[in-house]
């Protein structure tokens, strides 16, 4: 045990002497939360829409008014009235506008005589998300033209859709919290544990402790435990910070602190063991750099942290079934948003434990005690 503790202490002391790393590994996942929250957000706004109305009639005016109302309300568009049709279309081509709406001179007349009125909509369909949103809104605007007045009350007999949310309101920001905590764990396990072994190997320092009576278990176990210590503290710090930032009700955020702590510890152990199994024999930090980006993408995006696993194609779903981050995200989401107890995440915890045991075994078995 003395030997194991000596390995842990050596690693922790060295980490402590690099406060910049410590600061960055706390700050980065929080910045991640802010960037992810703002770049993948649910609603689109301020899409530049060029509108060329060649018709002075009432229906053309009404259509433009409708669009202006959207601009003032949900702010989906930025309506830019123009006169030159060619300029508008070219603007879409060069990326200046997301779409150009052309209202032909006989539009109002055709509406009145029921002569199949139509408008031209040039869409930048390379950005399919914006294009879909604009098309749907213009569609809605056109169909509203048919009715002369806005109905005062809902017509009887039409079935109404009423949303029933099973769980308390979860906004987009809050739904990212489990992902951000998992991300913090991933980053932590990448820069502790096996990475320290790779660095020692690269610097030639590894040789000095391979020459001592330390066992394989001492070396692998010691590095994993020190990595666990650092990463867990880090992840819990980020958990608390992101609960406060996103306004998850404290009763749910901290009421479940113990189970969350358990999930964090288990996920950390799991990823540390995985890293050790993968990097146990790597001798150049550059390979770790290359691997880190790759591992982040293949573990994080199919984890369900940003997009639901249910919408994945079959092959990706199968991958999510063996992806430890998917189980970690599921467990965290259950605890934070469904407010269920430990009993309901037993399956996740079991998978994470088995995965950890398998990877730790692999790491110790493949670790070379010789050069």
């Amino acid at each position: 045990m003395t030997r194991l503790f000596a390995v842990i202490e050596r690693d922790l002391k060295k980490f402590k002497r690099n406060p910049v790393v410590l600061g960055m590994s706390i700050l980065m996942p929080i910045i991640y939360l802010v960037i992810l929250g703002n770049s993948f957000q649910g609603k689109l706004t301020d899409l530049p829409l060029a509108v060329v109305s060649q018709d002075g009639g009432p229906y053309a005016k009404r259509l433009v008014e409708y669009l202006m109302a959207v601009q003032a309300g949900p702010k989906t568009f930025l309506v830019l009235p123009m006169t030159d049709q060619k300029k508008a279309v070219d603007g879409v081509r060069t990326g200046k506008y997301k779409a150009a709406l052309i209202i032909p001179p006989d539009f109002s007349k055709r509406v009145v005589v029921n002569g199949r009125p139509d408008v031209g909509l040039f869409l930048d369909n390379t950005d399919s998300i914006s294009a879909d949103t604009i098309r749907n809104l213009i569609d809605a605007a056109l169909s509203s033209l048919g009715s002369e007045y806005v109905p005062v009350r809902e017509p009887d007999g039409t079935p109404l859709l009423r949303d029933i949310n099973l769980y308390g309101k979860v906004d987009y920001y809050q739904s990212l919290v489990p992902g951000v905590v998992i991300m913090a764990i991933f980053l932590g396990t990448l820069t502790t544990g096996a990475f320290n072994l790779v660095m020692d190997r690269f610097l030639g320092i590894e040789e000095s402790y391979l020459l001592t009576p330390l066992s394989k278990g001492n070396i692998v176990g010691g590095l994993i435990i020190s990595g666990l210590f650092i990463t867990t503290i880090n992840a819990l710090f980020i958990f608390v910070a992101s609960v406060l930032i996103t306004g998850i009700p404290l009763s749910r955020g901290f009421g479940n602190f113990l189970p969350v702590f358990l999930v964090v510890v288990l996920t950390t152990l799991c990823l540390l063991s995985l890293m050790f199994a993968i990097m146990g024999r790597i001798s150049h930090p550059r390979i770790v750099g290359v691997l880190s980006g790759f591992l982040n993408v293949i573990l994080f995006f199919p984890s369900g942290a940003v997009y639901p696993v249910a919408s994945f194609p079959g092959w990706l779903k199968s991958f999510a079934r063996v992806n430890p981050e998917a189980y970690a995200v599921d467990a965290m989401k259950s605890l934070l948003f469904k407010n269920v107890g430990l009993g309901n995440i037993m399956g996740d915890l079991l998978f994470l434990s088995l995965f950890t045991a398998a990877m730790m075994g692999l790491a110790i078995a493949t670790f070379k005690r010789t050069l």
Partner: protein, 344 residues
């Protein structure tokens, strides 16, 4: 089985017994059927150029590399069969600097002591004593990152003595050190061999280092021992007692051959525009050498006479100078990620 037992028991009074040890890396043979013995309390040196197989040999003796074939008994245990027993009994200073830069000198010593399971009180006492011995007591609580190369090496020597090893291995301990630091390390090693009941095994490619420190030297080249003995014995083993080096204008092979025919000349080597000859009584016979060069149409640009050294022993056996550096072999696939493998 019987054979191994006899080897182990015969080696009780030996610190190291090596028989036919070989290590291959793919097609290259880094160490080729080497056998030797080192007595307890001996200061034994392996002298050879870079790439000769010194580091590979020391790594096999210290359990870091498995021998392809052959056997080595170190401190009474077979390195391949009982590596952990061997590790407990030896101290090794590898060629690369291996102290942790982010820790202080004292922390380096303390953590290393714990790797050996030494109790806290003893560790503390031993650390103070050793840091004092290597002259780092004043800097003990500074980060190793602030140390000079010589200080770092001294710390590493102190660090491997913390568990009182019976056998100390040093792989090119003064490589890359300035002359002054080198002298400090030499004094330290001399003090160690005098005061302690310790055996020291050192590899080097510095002649003066082997000559000054080692009681016995094995000269290694291309993975094989080419000569072994005390430095005076080795020098006595090659003919002649002085080396005369002549730089000659218009040097031809005929001139070299004419020198070789003189009765007091044992061996001649030509390197570009100079000839060096091992000669009986260099100073008395220098005029004779100069005469024969002139008679053969050469002009003397410079002449020097010096006593034979281990380097001349090396040249005698291999026909090349020990200082010739070979390029380090590095993995094609991962570059500098794997330079230790084939280290000289």
């Amino acid at each position: 089985m019987g054979e191994r037992d006899s080897v182990e028991s015969a080696s009780q009074d030996k610190a190291i017994t090596v028989s036919g040890i070989t290590r291959e890396f793919g097609l290259a043979t880094a160490v080729d059927r080497i056998s030797f013995e080192v007595d307890r309390g001996e200061f034994f040196g392996f002298l050879g150029p870079n790439g000769a197989g010194k580091t590979t040999l020391i790594r096999m003796l210290t359990t870091l590399l498995k021998p392809t074939s052959g056997q080595a008994i170190v401190s009474g245990y077979d390195v391949a069969e009982h590596p952990s027993q061997v590790r407990r009994r030896i101290g090794v200073v590898p060629q690369a600097m291996t102290s942790d830069l982010d820790l202080t000198g004292r922390e380096n010593m303390d953590i290393y002591g714990r790797f050996y399971g030494i109790r806290s009180a003893e560790r503390k006492e031993r650390t103070d004593e050793l840091l004092e011995m290597v002259g780092l007591a004043q800097r003990a609580d500074d980060l190793v990152a602030t140390y000079s190369g010589g200080m770092r090496r001294r710390l590493e020597i102190a660090r491997v003595l913390v568990h009182r090893p019976a056998l100390l291995f040093l792989d090119e301990p003064t490589i890359g050190l300035d002359p002054q630091s080198r002298r400090v390390v030499w004094e330290l090693l001399k003090k160690l061999i005098r005061s302690d009941t310790i055996t020291i095994f050192l590899t080097t490619h510095y002649m003066e280092e082997a000559e000054m420190l080692c009681g016995r030297v094995a000269i290694i080249d291309a993975g094989k021992i080419i000569a072994m003995g005390s430095p005076p014995e080795l020098k006595a083993g090659i003919p002649g007692n002085d080396i005369v080096t002549l730089r000659v204008g218009g040097l031809t092979d005929d001139i070299t051959a004419a020198i070789g025919k003189l009765p007091f000349v044992h061996k001649v080597n030509r390197e570009e525009d100079s000839v060096s000859a091992s000669v009986e009584g260099g100073a008395q016979n220098l005029p004779g050498l100069i005469d024969i060069v002139r008679a053969s149409g050469g002009t003397i640009l410079s002449a020097s006479v010096h006593e034979q050294s281990l380097e001349d022993v090396f040249i005698h056996y291999t026909g090349k100078s020990i200082r010739e550096e070979e390029a380090k072999k590095v993995s094609f696939l991962v570059g500098a990620g794997m330079p230790r493998r084939l280290g000289g």
